[in-house]
Amino acid sequence: MVKRKAFMFLFVALFALTSAANAKTLRWGFASDALTMDPHSQNESPTINMLRQVYGTLVKRTAGLKIIPDLATSWEAATPTTWIFNLRKGVKFHDGSAFTAEDVKFSLERAAHPSSDYKPYVNTITGIKIINKYKIKITTKAPDPILPSYFTYVFIMDKQWSEKQGVTAPANFKANEESYAVRNTNGTGPFILVSREPDLRTVFKRNPDYYDGRVKIDKLVYTPIKEASTRVAALLSNEIDFLNDPPVQDLARLKATRGIKVMSTPQIRTIFLGMDQSAKTLRSNPDLGKNPLADKRVREAMYRAIDAVAIQKKIMRGLSVPAGMITAPGVHGYDKNLDQRIPYSPKVAKRLLADAGYPNGFKIRLDCPNDRYINDEAICQAAVSMLARIGVRASLNAQPKSIHFKSLSNSESDFYMLGWGVATLDSEYVFRYLVHTRSPKIGAWNHANYSNSEIDALILSIQKEVDNKKRDKMIHKVWKTIGDDITYLPLHHQVINWAMSDKVNIPIQALNETYFYQATID
């Protein structure tokens, strides 16, 4: 008997050992951390990507960007203004409670809360009606043909859990609000958050009950590493297995290293500079007495001063596409003819500045993130010296994205860098956030404070237009107008590069989302 017990013990111990050895851990590195784990607090891609591991959405995209079922198994437009979503049965949140239509209604309403950064995703919704536990009806104020594509970004939370933890409203990011949901999660996604230390380490474990295929990675460890060279060194020394933002200058070396592979794809993200056109005076140079950026000639001069090809060749090492539009190929409404840059010409730029009354230029501050986009700070430095050649003396303020985005939200910048990826793959999403006059429900990221009532009206009609041809025409008109107005100063479309141990298999995705639930480790 005793012998048998000992044998059993040995067996169990051995089993535990072997299973521990077989546990597949994927160590993931990136420049910066998610800004929050509250699913409706910040509409920022790395944040969304992190949330995606934990939270489910009604519908989602494949790596090829096709829309497929997630928490909704099917959906249809019953009438032009009503949508019916049939929900997946038997899904459990990480804490074990069942997923029902109540949770969907709750989450959509939470995303529409004033402190949410996802309001533009749900601002066409007027009514949410629960038909039964697994069926929900959504009415929109006007026909909204692309509503499902917006739902790929609205994460579904557990109503009960949120009520219990007192997080029924999204944490207010601008006001530095901390709530239980900022560091804790309860989703339906492929991974369960085990521990979170912001800016240090976030650990996830496999969700054994995940409904969309077996997750093959047992443990996912996320480590933000700010310094580019340290990130590469970590990959080379096998301290991390996967990097979704290797520095472009190191790609050649990484490709040549045995045991490491590099994948690339054009990204749906455009990097540009924004110029506040509505401010009375410059915040960074109030002595000037007026706002030169309000003058289109000044904006054009600054546009012409930027040598985008030099930035592409020297800073991006060829891995970017100079842009004339602030949206990338692959987005509905993108037009190659509009994606042409106004030619680089410091001479013309100087003349334009003189015409506008600034023959000697002016001083301004350029606000940039330094851990968000590929070589963001280096691009801004280059822009500063290019602008200096026409007399615009910009001082560079490069900061971590958490501070940069907060200062944008608080309208503290005249001149800033921003990149925009297009979640819905439709131009209207860009207009909704970046072009429509900034107001509580729409235009949240229009820090250029571009305001054109005609365009605003056009954007609202695009939202409800069902005739594709008419809609495309209107989209084209908006792009043409804001291009002619030099609303933004486009720089380039990014290219995504992922570097990883060659044991890792994961589909690359053009929105830079990492689908670890589909990843395997050999």
């Binding site: 310094e227 060279s229 060194a233 520095p247 200058q249 050649a252 501050r365 010296s385 602008l387 200096a388």
Partner: protein, 313 residues
């Protein structure tokens, strides 16, 4: 006094300096001579950077991105030669180093001067007044000493960064660094000055001055201070090297001088990002310069310490 007489007196001052023990011990040690020459050379090249540097790297209008990432000894499209290559923005590394070294030296020396003034003042006051004030000041020094210098500097830096607006921060960074490094370095000054001043304090001339009712300020500054200058000078030189290194460390960590006004540490940090991709010159040359600078200043400090120590004679 006629002009020639005055000249003669000045000459004799210089002659006296050349005839001093200090000069003889300097001449005796070849290593010290070499360190002295190198330090002098670095000082001149860095402070005369605007005149000597081949390019003006911090005038943003004068740099061209097309000249970026050139290896040492290359020539760009316009026929400009770059002896030590260029960085990722097209700045000439040699010129950048000359300006950067100047920043490093100004911050290092500024911090030491600040620390010397603060430390000497505290040391003198401690020694002269004694009693509870002495105990209090020396306990503060003890507490301060238990914090590593870099931690103190990081702390002050962090507070400054959080309170100042970004508009003024870059311009004020140099002063913040001088202040924080100085705050981290005053203790050795205070302790040595206190020890030396306590000895002087018991001597007749100080007692006489006290009895005669000479104001405290005069006793401290005119009687005590000149007699405790030797240790201050030695500590200052030895600590200058440390202060330069600490500043470089802070800048390397990204909390020091901004990229618009880089010190050697900033240059090494920026360059380190390109080390992996084979662009070694961006970080190597500033690194070597820092090593040479600190080594020579350190050797000078060591020599000064030995030369001024009467017990070693």
């Amino acid at each position: 006094m006629s002009e020639s007489q005055q000249q003669a007196q000045e000459m004799s001052l210089i002659a006296r300096a050349f005839d001093s023990d200090l000069w003889h011990s300097f001449k005796e040690s070849k290593v010290t001579m070499l360190a002295g020459i190198i330090t002098a050379f670095l000082l001149i090249t860095s402070f005369a950077a605007p005149l000597l540097a081949p390019y003006t790297p911090f005038d943003p209008g004068s740099i061209s991105l097309w000249a970026a990432d050139l290896p040492p000894m290359s020539v760009d499209e316009d026929g400009n030669t770059y002896l030590m290559g260029t960085d990722n923005q097209g700045r000439d590394i040699l010129s950048v180093i000359m300006y950067g070294m100047r920043t490093s030296l100004i911050v290092g020396a500024g911090a030491i001067i600040f620390a010397a003034i603060l430390g000497s003042a505290i040391g003198l006051i401690s020694a002269y007044f004694g009693g509870w004030l002495d105990s209090l000041l020396m306990r503060i020094a003890d507490v301060q000493l238990s914090f590593p210098a870099i931690l103190v500097a990081l702390l002050i830096n962090g507070v400054a960064k959080a309170t100042l607006s970004p508009n003024v921060l870059d311009g004020a960074m140099m002063y913040i660094l001088i202040f924080s490094l100085g705050m981290a370095a005053w203790v050795p000054f205070a302790r040595s000055v206190r020890a030396a001043a306590m000895v002087e304090n018991q001597k007749e001339y100080v007692l006489a001055a006290r009895i005669m009712g000479v104001p405290v300020r005069s006793i401290l500054l005119r009687h005590l201070l000149p007699n405790v200058l030797n240790p201050i000078l030695v500590i200052a030189t030895v600590n200058l090297a440390i202060s330069i290194i600490t500043e470089a460390t802070l800048s390397f960590l990204g909390v020091g001088m901004p990229q618009t006004e880089p010190s050697l540490g900033t240059l090494i940090r920026v360059g380190a990002n390109f080390l992996m991709s084979g662009e070694w010159w961006i970080t190597l040359f500033p690194g070597i310069t820092l090593v040479i600078l600190v080594l020579s200043v350190n050797l000078l400090g060591d020599w000064l310490r030995d030369a001024m120590n009467p017990r070693l004679k």
